[in-house]
């Protein structure tokens, strides 16, 4: 169920787009209305979630310190793993977000008879994760070309870097291969590593299947079953200039691709994909470890009932006097 349900959901989504465009001729629905709706849900949902998190305060400053703290001048602080300044925190966060620093630490615990444990470096998840996310980002940037009349320089640079392994025409993009490979790896590890399989939910398979299908339809369009690119550009330009028009003859594969992307966008705010926003807010990573030097304020700090010294002395006064301890009240 945890695998089959998301699997068939993706298939149903594909069929839906196919039937809608090919049989019911709902080009305007799939080409204009759904994309607008999806992007609206994405933006509104994303903001809603982030604001939701933001509304809960951070009562305590609880960084997970992963290196030497700020100490004497003669002890070297690890400013990135245990930052005590905002600059250090920014550095730590950049490493996390751009290079998945924590995942890079990953080690694999192995058990042998004895009992004996050994810990081996295990960078596969980190590598696949990076390959997937960076490919995703670069592909996203490349797609922006459809939305500009004159393609910005930055996008050109991205494209030419991405295609430096030029194999035939059309240009072959490295990220296309990477994303397919990386997502396949991520799916496979969910099937093959027993522990990961055991913890996986439908919500873990669904985005992977969805992204895999998006990438596959994209690759199909680009290298195998050509669609009418000029038409796609026209559609995209129409969408961003808020004067949507649906050109003829783009090809159903494109609509399937677009529909799945819309589903991904609309699904995003309600799912674990929100880790994209969440990673920036994580209190164990985005706070400086300067607690002892700068007081952190808890907005809901409230007075509590304590057992005061006076009460304590009342309980033990005679014993204290006998033991020669000073007391406040004789």
């Amino acid at each position: 169920m945890r695998v089959l349900f998301p699997f068939f959901t993706v298939i149903v989504l594909v069929l839906l787009a196919f039937a809608g465009v090919k049989m019911a001729n709902l080009h305007f629905l799939f080409g204009v209305i759904i994309p607008y709706a999806a992007i609206t849900v994405f933006i509104a949902g994303f903001i809603y979630r982030v604001v939701g998190w933001g509304r809960s305060p951070v009562p305590f400053r609880i960084p997970t310190t992963c290196g030497q703290m700020e100490s004497f001048p003669w002890i070297k602080q690890n400013k990135l793993e245990n930052p005590s300044t905002t600059l250090g925190v920014i550095g730590r966060m950049l490493l996390e977000v751009l290079f998945f620093r924590s995942l890079f630490r990953n080690i694999k615990t192995e058990f042998r008879e004895g009992p004996k444990f050994s810990y081996g470096s295990d960078k596969w998840l980190w590598m696949a994760g990076l390959a997937f996310h960076w490919s995703f980002l670069i592909i996203l940037i490349r797609h922006l070309r459809f939305f500009f009349l004159k393609v910005p320089y930055l996008i050109h640079v991205t494209e030419s870097l991405d295609s430096f392994l030029q194999i035939g025409a059309p240009l072959f993009y490295i990220t296309d291969a990477l994303i397919l490979g990386a997502v396949t790896f991520l799916v496979l590890r969910r099937f093959l590593i027993p522990q990961v399989k055991y913890i996986s939910l439908a919500a873990d398979y669904f985005p992977l299947f969805l992204i895999l299908t998006i990438a596959a339809t994209g690759v199909l369009m680009r290298y195998f079953s050509k669609v009418h690119i000029v038409g796609v550009k026209e559609l995209a330009m129409g969408l961003v200039s808020f004067s949507p028009a649906v050109p003829e003859g783009i090809g159903v594969l494109f609509y399937i691709h677009l529909f799945l992307v819309c589903v991904l966008f609309a699904y995003f705010p309600f799912s674990k994909l929100m880790h994209m926003g969440g990673v920036f807010l994580s209190p164990t990573r985005n706070l400086a470890n300067n607690n002892r030097a700068v007081r952190h304020i808890n907005p809901w700090n409230y007075p509590v009932h304590v057992h005061t010294y006076e009460e304590y002395e009342d309980d033990f006064r005679e014993k204290m006097k006998k033991a020669g301890l000073p007391v406040e009240k004789e």
Binding site: F60, T65, S102, H305, E313, K322
Partner: protein
């Protein structure tokens, strides 16, 4: 070992997963893996709800009426108060990077001890009541209803997490299971579901100032005994003061150091050092506990206990506070105390009276760690040390979880060790510093009835010690935590009996050449010093 868990059985680890999904695998209360339930009288002492005696293995936990509502209300409340909790409920991608990082999972093979699944125990309920997909899709979205079985599962597994934060180091979003465990324990405490070994110490700390329940004269007696021992060994009679107004420094350490070996040797170490320096300091019998068992209970309880430290510093009129060797105590002091009970504007920024060093990094909380204090002394050449007195030791060092991952003090203790001991060997890199393994019995799990759990949880640490024992002949495990001194002692006796346990300041005091001391024949333990064995 005559009694206790069977070592052979504990050594056979099996990571095969159950054939049923985790939600369909009922929790099984295996003897030796859980603590006794809290006693009514101890809960009453601190005005906790549903105070009554109860037994975890009995079917009826004597829960209050409408307890589900209580838990869900509290959950809604904490979600709105803690961004950490809310975020950690939402953003886990179940990548599994944290799975094999928990000592309890490594030592037990129980999948619900994987940090990610421990979190899912709570998350599944969160989804059911607080998220739209969970409400609509239920099980398919990983959601489930809160019922007695789920509650018992929570109790069993949230008291199998030592809040050590090792998982959080490896998680790409820093998801910290310790935060979730803390919330879980808060909810359980609203129903009177603490353990005996936590609620007893909490009541003691509250009424008597320390977790052992030592009354004022008993604290003094215990310290008198140590002073006698110090005199026997060094010929020097030292004279500490208690509850003394006008002292420059208040000294607070875990009360475990006053009670049992090898903690007492560490306490002797502090006193010898302070005596040699002529430090103007006082003990307090009211704030006689550095550790904070409230921290294993609820945020509010932790604050209630912690309040004594500043209150006592204020009453006595000291300038600042020095804290002894303890693990979670230092996470509490670093990350919570000032926020709860500060600002300590009646104190001054700590300045070492011997070296003049100003502890800028503690300028707000006005409390420094004794290891910082000592490292600074050594760096300035203020101590006469003879490390050869520790030559019988081959030492390794255990980073306490909380000091490593909730503070980041890693070099100071090592610097001290290298100055007081000639033979020092590090354990493998993946088992020290920020990746250090828990002793296996932190957060109030160091009871005796759950010995199997403790030995399982302690196995990864013990295994790394065993490695350096076999490779370098290591025979002593140093640490800066009172709980470690109690728990590692037990796990070493069980897994690596050739290795003993010591606090850092025991080593310092052994090496310390005191003014006017007689020629020492023995170390603090009464064992002959190296080269004096024949006498």
């Amino acid at each position: 070992m005559a009694k206790g868990p069977n070592k052979e059985e504990l050594s056979k680890l099996d990571y095969t997963l159950p054939s049923t999904e985790w939600m369909d695998t009922p929790v099984e209360f295996k003897p030796g893996t859980f603590c006794w339930g809290a006693k009514g009288k101890n809960l009453q002492t601190v005005e906790f709800p549903n105070a009554r005696d109860w037994t975890p293995v009995e079917d009826d936990w004597k829960l209050p009426q409408e307890w589900e509502g209580t838990v869900l209300e509290a959950m809604a409340d904490r979600l709105s108060k803690y961004r950490s909790f809310k975020l950690f409920m939402d953003i886990c991608v179940r990548c599994g990077a944290c799975a094999d990082k928990c000592h309890f999972y490594i030592g037990s093979g129980d999948p619900k001890n994987m940090p990610v699944l421990r979190a899912e125990l709570m998350r599944s309920v969160y989804r059911k009541y607080f998220t739209t997909p969970g409400k609509i899709l239920g099980r398919l979205a990983g959601a489930r209803e809160l019922n007695v079985d789920v509650l018992k599962e929570w109790w069993y597994y949230f008291f199998q997490c030592t809040e050590c934060r090792r998982c959080s180091v490896f998680c790409p979003y820093g998801i910290d299971q310790a935060e979730i465990t803390m919330m879980g324990r808060e909810f359980l405490n609203l129903l009177g579901l603490n353990t005996d070994w936590i609620s007893g110490p909490v009541a003691n700390c509250y009424m008597k100032g320390n977790h052992l329940g030592l009354e004022p004269h008993a604290i003094m007696n215990s310290i008198e005994g140590m002073i006698d021992d110090i005199e026997t060994i060094t010929g020097i009679r030292i004279n500490p003061s208690f509850n003394r107004k006008g002292a420059e420094i208040l000294f607070v350490t875990p009360s475990g150091d006053l009670f049992a070996d090898p903690g007492t040797f560490t306490a002797m170490g502090y006193m010898m050092l302070f005596h040699e320096l002529g430090l103007d300091y006082t003990w307090s019998t009211y704030a006689s506990e550095g550790g904070n068992f409230g921290f294993f209970t609820s945020n509010e309880m932790a604050k209630r206990l912690n309040a004594k430290i500043y209150a006592e510093a204020k009453r006595l009129g000291v300038k600042y506070i020095i804290g002894g060797e303890c693990g979670h105590m230092w996470r509490v002091l670093t990350q919570y105390m000032d926020t709860w009970n500060g600002p300590a504007d009646f104190l001054e920024v700590p300045v070492s009276p011997i070296t003049g060093t100003r502890f800028e990094n503690s300028k707000s909380i006005k409390m420094i760690h004794v290891a910082e204090f000592t490292a600074d002394l050594i760096k300035h050449g203020k101590l006469k040390l003879d490390p050869s007195r520790n030559d019988n030791l081959k030492l390794t060092y255990h980073d306490s979880c909380n000091v490593a991952r909730g503070m980041g003090m890693m070099e100071e203790p090592r610097y001290i060790i290298k100055n007081v001991c000639n033979n020092f060997y590090e354990m493998p890199e993946d088992t020290i510093r920020e990746k250090t393994f828990c002793c296996g019995s932190g957060t109030g799990l160091n009871a005796s009835e759950n010995m199997e759990l403790r030995m399982r949880g302690g196995l990864p640490r013990a295994n790394a010690v065993k490695y350096v024992h076999e490779k370098h002949g290591v025979n002593m495990l140093a640490n800066i935590c009172a709980i470690d001194r109690a728990t590692l002692k037990a796990s070493m006796e069980y897994w690596v009996p050739q290795v003993s346990v010591t606090g850092l300041h025991e080593l310092v005091a052994n090496a310390l050449i005191m003014t006017g001391e007689k020629e020492r024949e023995t170390n603090l333990r009464g064992e002959p010093l190296p080269g004096k064995e024949g006498n």
